[in-house]
C-alpha cells in the first residue's frame, strides 16, 4: 500500500513536469504587410483563412511562405515559428476580379520603416532600387555612427589620459611648492570630445530587404492564387481578397486630455457628438483626421486572426491635423484657440501632482521636447455649454469637426423627475376617483 502511494504521488508530481507544449503544424501562409490608412500592419493569413482584407488603392505586400505555426493560449492567437522552417516560394501572384480579368504580380524587393514626424509616426515602404538604397543608407548611417562612436571612445580615452597626467603633474608641483598656474590653465583648455548622436531619423529602422508581391487594387472583391515556377496553381493558395474602402473620409475626431489625467486621454469620433465633462479641470484637445470603415473588415485588415462587427462602421484615426486652431463658442462670445506646445511639470509640493504649463523653448524648457502639442480649452463648472469646431478648414470638414462640450455637475432636480414619472399614476388616480364619484351619483339618482 505504501509503495502504491509513493508510486501514485510520483506519478502526480511527474504531470507537473510536462507543461502544456503548444502543438506546431506546418502551414502554407500568406505573409502580409497591409497598409491600414496610416501605417503598415504585419499579419498573416493561415491556411484555413478564406479571406484577406487589404486597403483599396494602396500598396500592400504579400508573400507566399511555409512556416510552422502554433497556438499561443495566453494571447489566444496563432503565432509563426520561423526558426526551423522558413520557406519563401518563388512564382507569380494572380488576382482575378469579378469580371474574370486577371492581373499578374511579380516579386519585388521592399522594406518598411517608421520615421518620426512632427505629429505622428509615419510608416514608409520603399520598393526595388529605392528599398535597396534606403537599406544601404540606413546601414551606412549605422556604420558611420559605430565608427564615430569608436573615434569618440578613442578621443575620450586620450582626453582622460591627458587630464589624469596633468592632475598628477599639478599634485607633484604643489608638493614641491611650485607654481601650478600654467598647468591649471592648460587643464582648463582641455575640451572633452562630443559624443556622436544616434541616428534619429527612424523610430523603427528599415527592415532587412524582403521579397514580396506589391498588390494595389481598387475597392471590391477578388480571387487570389499563387502560380509556382512550373506554372501550376499552388494547392491551398486560393483565397478571396476584399479590397476595403472607407465609407466616409476626412472627418474630424478629437483626442481629449483632461488636465488632471493627461496620461488617460479619451477620444471623440462621432461627428456632432457631445462631450460631457464635470468641469473640474481644463481640457487639451488634439484634432485628427479619421476615416470610417466596417469594423470587421478593418480589424481583419490589420490582423487577419481578429474579429469584429460586420454590420457596424467605426472611425479610424489617420493623422493629427497639422497646425490646427479651433473656434470656441461660449456664452461670452467666440474665441479662436491655436495649437500650442505644453510641458507637464511635476509639482514640487507634497501633493505629488503635476501642472501643465506653456512650453518655453528659450527659457526653463530649453533643450527639452514639449510633452504635448494641443489646443487648450479652459473649463469651469460655471460653463454650461461650449461648442467647438476647427477654424480655417473647408465647410465639409468644419461640419464634421463640430462638438459640444457640456458641463455636468451631478444629478439635479430628482424631485421633479419623480413627479414626472408618477404623473401617469396621478392621472389614473384622478380618473378612478372621478369615475367613482360619477358612479355614486348615478346610483343615488337611480335609487
Amino acid at each position: 500500500m505504501k509503495r502504491l502511494t509513493i508510486i501514485l504521488l510520483a506519478m502526480l508530481c511527474s504531470f507537473s513536469l510536462f507543461g502544456e507544449v503548444p502543438v506546431r503544424s506546418e502551414e502554407l501562409l500568406y505573409s502580409i504587410a497591409a497598409f491600414s490608412g496610416k501605417d503598415y500592419a504585419l499579419t498573416f493569413a493561415k491556411e484555413d483563412a478564406t479571406t484577406i482584407y487589404l486597403y483599396a488603392n494602396a500598396d500592400n505586400f504579400l508573400s507566399m511562405k511555409k512556416n510552422f505555426i502554433y497556438y499561443w493560449p495566453i494571447t489566444g492567437l496563432w503565432m509563426i515559428d520561423d526558426s526551423v522552417l522558413d520557406v519563401t516560394f518563388d512564382g507569380v501572384m494572380q488576382v482575378v476580379d469579378s469580371k474574370g480579368n486577371v492581373q499578374q504580380f511579380e516579386e519585388v524587393e521592399y522594406t518598411f520603416f517608421n520615421m518620426r514626424g512632427t505629429y505622428d509616426n509615419n510608416w514608409h515602404v520603399k520598393t526595388g532600387q529605392e528599398a535597396i538604397d534606403e537599406w544601404n543608407s540606413y546601414v551606412q548611417s549605422y556604420l558611420d555612427y559605430q565608427e564615430a562612436t569608436a573615434a569618440y571612445n578613442r578621443e575620450y580615452s586620450a582626453y582622460q589620459e591627458q587630464t589624469t597626467a596633468l592632475f598628477y603633474e599639478i599634485l607633484a608641483v604643489r608638493e614641491q611648492g611650485g607654481d601650478t598656474e600654467a598647468l591649471l590653465q592648460q587643464l582648463s583648455t582641455l575640451i572633452p570630445p562630443v559624443e556622436p548622436a544616434m541616428p534619429s531619423v527612424y523610430t523603427v529602422p528599415p527592415a532587412r530587404i524582403q521579397y514580396g508581391y506589391r498588390i494595389n487594387l481598387g475597392a471590391g472583391e477578388y480571387r487570389l492564387r499563387f502560380i509556382d515556377k512550373d506554372g501550376r496553381v499552388m494547392q491551398d493558395s486560393e483565397k478571396t481578397i476584399v479590397s476595403v474602402e472607407s465609407r466616409r473620409s476626412d472627418s474630424i475626431g478629437y483626442e481629449i486630455f483632461p488636465a488632471d489625467r493627461w496620461t488617460m486621454p479619451s477620444e471623440s469620433f462621432a461627428p456632432s457628438s457631445v462631450l460631457y465633462v464635470d468641469g473640474t479641470s481644463d481640457m487639451y484637445v488634439r484634432p485628427f483626421y479619421q476615416d470610417e470603415f466596417l469594423d470587421l473588415q478593418y480589424n481583419k485588415m490589420i490582423d487577419n486572426q481578429s474579429s469584429g462587427n460586420p454590420n457596424l462602421y467605426r472611425w479610424v484615426r489617420i493623422q493629427q491635423v497639422p497646425n490646427s486652431s479651433v473656434e470656441i463658442t461660449t456664452s461670452k462670445g467666440v474665441q479662436v484657440v491655436n495649437e500650442q506646445p505644453f510641458m507637464v511639470e511635476q509639482s514640487k509640493s507634497t501633493t505629488l501632482g503635476y501642472s501643465i504649463v506653456p512650453y518655453d523653448a528659450q527659457g526653463v524648457h530649453a533643450g527639452k521636447s514639449p510633452s504635448i502639442v494641443a489646443l487648450h480649452i479652459p473649463l469651469s463648472t460655471d460653463d454650461k455649454e461650449i461648442s467647438l469646431s476647427l477654424a480655417g478648414v473647408e465647410d465639409s470638414i468644419k461640419g464634421s469637426s463640430k462638438r459640444i462640450i457640456r458641463v455636468i455637475t451631478g444629478i439635479k432636480g430628482e424631485l421633479i423627475t419623480v413627479l414626472l414619472i408618477v404623473i401617469p399614476l396621478i392621472v389614473t388616480f384622478i380618473v378612478r376617483t372621478v369615475r367613482k364619484r360619477r358612479l355614486a351619483s348615478v346610483l343615488v339618482e337611480v335609487s
Binding site: I256, S273, S307, P310, I408, T409, L420, I423
Partner: protein, 288 residues
C-alpha cells in the same frame, strides 16, 4: 355602421376602456423608471475626462455586456450624444410589449365572452374590429412616446444634458416601426384560438426577429454571426428590426433614399401582415 365610422367608434371605445383602467398608467410609470435609470447612471459616470462607465457600477456592467456582445463601436454610437438614446430603448421596448400583449389578451377575452361575435352579427365586421384594435395600439404608443419625450426633455434641461438629433430621429423611427409591430400583434391574435397561444406566438416571432438581427451584429463567435447573417438575409424583409436599422443608418449617413426605402418597407410589410391577419380572421369567421 360600417367602414370608417365603425372603426372610429370602436377605436374610441377601446381607448376609453384602456385609459379608464390603471394598468396602462402603471406600465407607463414603470417603463419610464426603466428609462430614467440609465440617465441617472450616465450622469454619475461623468468625470473630468468625459463619460467613464467605470464610475458607475450599473453602467460598467451595461457597457461591458454591450461591448462584449456587439463591440465598442456600438457603445460609442449609442452614447455619442448622451444617455437618452439608450434610455429611449429601455423605456420603449417594455411599454410596446405591454401594449401589444394587453391588446392580444383583450381580443381573446372579448372573443371568449362572445363580444366579437355579437358585434359581427350586428353593425360591425370583424376586420373593422381588428383595425380598431390596431389603431388603439398605435394611439397608445404615440401617447406614451409623447409623454416619454416630454419627460426626457425636462430631465435633460434639468441636468444640462442634450436629447440630441439621434434621439429625435429614433423617436420618429420607433413611432413608425410600431405600426409593423402592432400589425404582428394583430396577426398573432388572429392566428391562434387562445390568448396564451397568441401571446406566445407574438413573443416568439419578435424574439426570433431580435435574435437573428442581433446575432448578425455579435462578435462573440464567427459561426453564430455567419449563421445569423444568412438567416437575417432571409428574414430581414419581414423584420421590424431590419427596417429600423436601415432607416437609422440612412439618417446617420444622410441618405434620403435609404430612409425612404426603410419607411416604405415598413408600410408595405405592415399592409401585407395586416391583410394576412384580416384574411385569417375572415377565414375563422367562415368556419364558425
Amino acid at each position: 355602421m360600417k367602414g370608417f365610422h365603425g372603426t372610429k367608434v370602436l377605436t374610441r371605445l377601446h381607448l376609453k376602456e384602456m385609459f379608464l383602467t390603471p394598468a396602462f398608467f402603471i406600465a407607463a410609470a414603470i417603463s419610464t423608471v426603466f428609462g430614467y435609470l440609465p440617465v441617472r447612471g450616465f450622469v454619475n459616470s461623468i468625470g473630468s475626462q468625459g463619460f467613464n462607465p467605470s464610475l458607475s457600477p450599473m453602467f460598467a456592467n451595461i457597457t461591458a455586456s454591450l461591448e462584449s456582445l456587439f463591440s465598442e463601436v456600438l457603445v460609442d454610437t449609442l452614447f455619442a450624444q448622451g444617455p437618452f438614446l439608450f434610455a429611449l430603448y429601455c423605456a420603449y421596448i417594455p411599454m410596446l410589449l405591454y401594449i401589444c400583449a394587453s391588446s392580444i389578451i383583450t381580443y381573446h377575452f372579448q372573443r371568449d365572452v362572445g363580444a366579437i361575435e355579437l358585434v359581427r352579427f350586428g353593425p360591425v365586421r370583424s376586420r373593422t374590429y381588428l383595425l380598431s384594435l390596431f389603431l388603439k395600439d398605435l394611439v397608445s404608443i404615440i401617447v406614451y412616446i409623447a409623454y416619454l419625450t416630454i419627460t426626457f426633455f425636462i430631465i435633460s434641461r434639468l441636468n444640462n444634458l442634450l436629447l440630441g438629433p439621434a434621439f429625435i430621429q429614433s423617436v420618429c423611427v420607433l413611432a413608425v416601426v410600431s405600426v409593423l409591430i402592432c400589425a404582428y400583434a394583430r396577426l398573432a391574435a388572429s392566428a391562434t384560438s387562445s390568448g396564451i397561444g397568441s401571446l406566445s406566438l407574438f413573443l416568439i416571432v419578435m424574439i426570433s426577429f431580435a435574435i437573428v438581427h442581433v446575432g448578425s451584429y455579435t462578435v462573440i463567435h464567427d459561426y453564430i454571426r455567419n449563421v445569423s447573417t444568412i438567416l437575417s438575409w432571409i428574414v430581414r424583409w419581414f423584420s421590424p428590426f431590419y427596417f429600423v436599422t436601415s432607416v437609422q443608418t440612412g439618417l446617420e449617413i444622410q441618405s434620403f433614399w435609404m430612409v425612404v426605402a426603410g419607411i416604405l418597407g415598413i408600410l408595405v410589410v405592415t399592409a401585407l401582415v395586416g391583410f394576412v391577419a384580416i384574411w385569417t380572421e375572415r377565414h375563422k369567421e367562415t368556419r364558425t
